[in-house]
């Protein structure tokens, strides 16, 4: 998804602020969304992600800042004149209309001729695999089918930007997985620029080109799912996208050529290959240790580095993985052991060894 130099972004947010009375809910957000990209706003409830979406859609006015859609400033345009289309969490399908009438509503409003409407509705129905349901009333559809209709309706006028407000949160777990894949496939196929809002960080990572992590009306970090997960900018993000074990330490040495780095911790010495350049010798750091990145064993292996001894407090076997709680000193560490082999022995083990990977990400601690 690299931006060609001459290509301008489809959507630009410039220093957006939004006040409700004296309450500032968006505190200066700037962002560029490229054409064909799927960007996800993710964050805990109350972080401003839905407000931001409604600002883009035109349902709420920005207090200051600019919204630029395909080169045109759209701050003052009402929703009906903006080339954005929103799909609400509750789908907001018109209950007094059939599936086809719902999908064709926008076309009719925009005065398309009848035969073109019919053709376009047929095409959309086929696209979301609802060919047989055109004449159904909305309340005769399942949640997943309603989701498809809402999606088709939002796409009917080929908007420049599609806005999806937690579109999957009313579906049950299995259907969510299916639908998010379908949405992503269609989005990629149609190359439609999409802003997606969710509070589910896993959904966000699975579906997006880029994530925008929001907290308290501010952007905490923007990046690809891999960047956000592997190189979170701060503790909040590290903890927000999946579970994380933190461990404090101090940089004892950095080899400038190999980038081999030694960290002193309360429990021993950890050696890593440093990939960041914002960390220097003597820094107090926080190691971001993902549960699945740690090796757990009953004794130290051949390469005796980065091993810490701990007491196995609990071992919960769940087939494909086992969740281990290990006490290292007075610190609890959660470790996911995938493909657990020696479950029987672990169940009865008391002492274990954990191996911290060389790829650990470091956060600078504020002193």
């Amino acid at each position: 998804m690299d931006l060609k130099p001459d290509e301008q972004p489809m959507l630009i947010l410039k220093d957006i602020h939004k006040f409700y009375g004296k309450n500032e809910v968006i505190k200066g957000v700037s962002l560029e969304v490229r054409k064909g990209e799927l960007v996800t706003f993710v964050g805990p409830s109350g972080c401003g992600k839905t407000t931001l979406l409604r600002l883009i859609g035109g349902f709420t006015d920005v207090s200051s800042g600019d919204i630029i859609l395909d080169g045109q400033r759209i701050n003052d345009l009402p929703p009906n004149l903006r080339d954005t289309r929103i799909c609400f969490q509750n789908y907001a399908l018109f209950p007094h209309m059939t599936v086809a009438e719902n999908i064709g509503y926008g076309l009719k409003i925009n005065k398309w001729p009848r035969n073109r409407i019919e053709a376009r509705v047929r095409e959309l129905l086929k696209m979301v695999e609802m060919d047989a349901f055109g004449d159904r009333m909305i309340d005769k559809l399942s949640g997943g089918q309603q989701q498809r209709v809402a999606f088709a309706r939002a796409l009917s006028l080929e908007p420049k930007v599609l806005l999806l407000d937690e579109p999957l949160s009313n579906l049950d777990a299995n259907l969510r997985l299916v639908m998010r894949e379908e949405i992503r496939n269609l989005q990629e196929k149609l190359q439609i620029t999409t802003v997606f809002v969710t509070h589910d960080q896993f959904e966000a990572m699975a579906i997006s080109d880029r994530l925008v992590v929001l907290r308290d009306g501010l952007i905490e970090q923007v990046g690809s799912p891999i960047e956000i997960y592997e190189r979170p900018a701060n503790e909040f993000i590290a903890g927000f996208v999946g579970y994380v074990n933190f461990m404090e330490g101090r940089i004892a040495s950095i080899d400038e050529t190999t980038r081999d780095t030694v960290i002193h911790t309360e429990y021993g010495q950890i050696e890593i290959t440093l990939e960041q350049d914002n960390i220097v010798h003597g820094d107090e750091v926080l190691m971001v240790i993902r549960p699945e990145s740690v090796n757990i064993s009953l004794g130290r292996g051949g390469n005796g580095r980065n091993f810490l001894s701990g007491a196995l407090k609990s071992y919960m076997y769940a087939g494909s993985l086992a969740k281990c709680t290990v006490m290292i000193g007075d610190r609890t560490m959660i470790i996911d052991q995938y493909n657990p082999r020696d479950a029987q022995q672990f169940k009865h083990a008391e002492k274990v060894e954990v191996q911290i990977p060389r790829s650990v990400h470091l956060l600078k601690r504020k002193s």
Binding site: F59, P79, L81, Q89, A92, H96, I109
Partner: protein, 564 residues
């Protein structure tokens, strides 16, 4: 739930048989008792009216109906009444819709003030508007004299205007409710897809609200045609059914004809009741719920804004003018005729005595009504006996019945031994109790739905008898409902006119009847001052009610957090 399980548990403990039976069946015994009361004080008077309308000197006859339908005057009266109902309904629903649209979709700043204006008529007795129109446009009206107008507002136009103003709050409240129940995302979706405000209204809002609007229309229609005060005060020579009933009974003592008129007045109510149930059957549109979002203000286009603002302003202005005029008039003997301001209207003995009587009657009605209301609500919600819904229907029907019908019904039913009650405070209070019992019942039902049956079962499970459970658990929880029922009944009763006007006896006047008489006889000052006193009383009641609602909400949330 309940009764069966209780009896099983109690038997297991080996209590005495009679006691067990009582415990297990107390709710049924209570229900039976309440039903008898409802039957005697609500159904029996109505049946008495029905019987009287077909009871000639020599048994059954349809003669009176024949006379009714063959007399031009009565036919005109029926026509006027139905036409009044139709016009009024349209006016109220349109104004109510505009007001409610602005308070739910308009700019934040306007929402609160508009809502207050729309609800202001609630503090007024409905006939305040008739009174103010007399002051402005009557024979000696301010406007009439100032511009030397050749016409007066007596008659059809006047009644339409005063009735419309009186029923705006009701229309507004019902329509605001339906507007708020509409998921705002639906309109936003249409907006998002390019629809203008007017198109959203035409294709989304109004079609989806149609059932709710229809319901509001029907209720307003029924209540308008039954309204007595405005038509009686302002009707002049134009006949309407409700005041005609009064004239026939009090002027000519013709109970047969009075009953026929009453039955004719009930008929549309019953027809509409069934139409309403039939029409709305399964017409509820459901949508998948998300987080409820308050509708944000929209950039309302001039096309929609201008007519809405005009209608809203005219309605709001008219309401203000009416209140202001009556307020000013209360300080003059006859405003516009006499020119020095006086306080004598407020000190008038007969008026104050009438207020005192009204307070006594309403207080008595409120105590009995709220108690019965809570009990009836309890047996309806918790009971498991046959005929539960019938009790509910009967108790709620009092409100929809034309007041004149219950007035005549009480005259017919309770004026002769063995049930002679006429000529005192009792019959007035009882009439108010059963006419407005719906209020207490509704308050009780909604409160009971908030309490989980488990609390009561837990109490029973711990060995408490039905009575103990009721006394220790149910009553304390129901207390707010009792108070709400009490205040509501009190303030509805104190302004009510249409039924009690038949039942007051010489020497025992009520404030509302006093206002009615004073207005008809041109004692504008007295009528206005008495009205203002009623307004004040109702305002105090509303403050109290507001206070209680806030208190109990705090109370219930405290209970909730304690439970967690």
């Amino acid at each position: 739930m309940a009764t069966a399980e209780w009896s099983v548990k109690l038997q297991a403990r080996g209590g005495s048989r009679v006691k067990d039976f009582l415990n297990a069946n107390l709710i049924n015994i209570l229900a039976a008792f309440l039903f008898l009361l409802l039957a005697f004080f609500l159904l029996y008077p109505i049946i008495a009216v029905l019987l009287k309308s077909v009871q000639g000197p020599s048994g059954f006859t349809l003669e009176y109906y024949r006379i009714f339908f063959s007399t031009d005057y009565y036919f005109q009266s029926l026509y006027n009444t139905l036409l009044l109902g139709a016009i009024n309904t349209v006016v109220c629903v349109v104004i109510g819709f505009c007001l409610a649209y602005m308070t739910t979709r308009g700019p934040w700043l306007l929402r609160k003030p508009l809502k207050i204006i729309a609800l202001i008529p609630l503090i007024a007795p409905p006939y305040l508007f008739a009174l103010s129109l007399i002051i402005l446009f009557g024979r000696n009206g301010l406007v009439t004299r100032a511009f030397d107008l050749p016409w007066q507002l007596y008659g059809f136009t006047g009644v339409v205007i005063s009735q419309s103003l009186a029923f705006i709050p009701l229309a507004f409240m019902m329509i605001e409710n339906t507007l708020m129940s509409l998921n705002p995302n639906l309109e936003e979706s249409a907006y998002d897809m390019g629809a203008t405000e007017a198109t959203i209204l035409r294709t989304i809002t109004i079609p989806l609200l149609a059932p709710g609007l229809l319901k509001a229309s029907l209720l307003i229609f029924v209540m308008t045609i039954a309204e007595f005060g405005n038509a009686a005060i302002l009707g002049g020579r134009t006949p309407f059914l409700a005041p005609d009933t009064y004239t026939v009974i009090t002027g000519e003592s013709d109970f047969n004809m009075g009953s026929v008129l009453s039955v004719v007045l009930i008929a549309p109510c019953i027809v509409i009741f069934f139409v309403h149930n039939y029409l709305l059957e399964g017409k509820k549109f459901t949508t998948i719920g998300g987080k409820p979002v308050a509708s944000e203000p929209r950039k309302i286009t001039p096309l929609v804004l201008v007519p809405f603002v005009i209608i809203t302003t005219v309605a709001a202005g008219a309401i203000f003018v009416c209140f202001g005029v009556v307020f000013v008039a209360s300080f003059y003997k006859i405003l516009g005729v006499t020119h020095n301001a006086v306080l004598s209207n407020y000190l008038d003995f007969t008026s104050n005595h009438a207020i005192y009587n009204s307070i006594r009657v309403s207080f008595m009605a409120a105590v009995i009504g709220a108690t019965l209301g809570v009990l009836i609500a309890y047996v309806i919600v918790r009971g498991k006996f046959f005929g539960r819904s019938f009790i509910e229907m009967v108790s709620l029907s009092g409100f929809a019945l034309p007041g004149t019908v219950l007035g005549i019904g009480y005259l017919l039913a309770f004026s002769a031994p063995p049930f002679k009650l006429t000529g005192g405070i009792t019959i007035l209070a009882l009439n108010c109790v059963f006419r407005f019992i719906a209020v207490g019942v509704e308050a009780g039902i909604s409160k009971l739905h908030q309490i989980h049956i488990e609390i009561e079962e837990a109490s029973a499970d711990l060995g408490a008898s039905f009575l103990t459970t009721f006394y220790k658990i149910v009553l304390p929880i129901m207390f707010p409902a009792f108070i709400a029922g009490f205040v509501y009944t009190f303030m509805t009763a104190i302004v009510s006119l249409s039924a009690v006007v038949f039942l007051v006896s010489p020497g025992f006047d009520l404030a509302s009847v006093k206002i009615f008489d004073a207005a008809v006889y041109g004692e504008i000052g007295i009528a206005s001052a008495t009205t203002m006193k009623l307004v004040l009383i109702v305002m105090i009641c509303m403050r109290v009610l507001d206070f209680i609602t806030k208190k109990t909400r705090i109370g219930s949330s405290m209970k909730k957090s304690a439970a967690v």
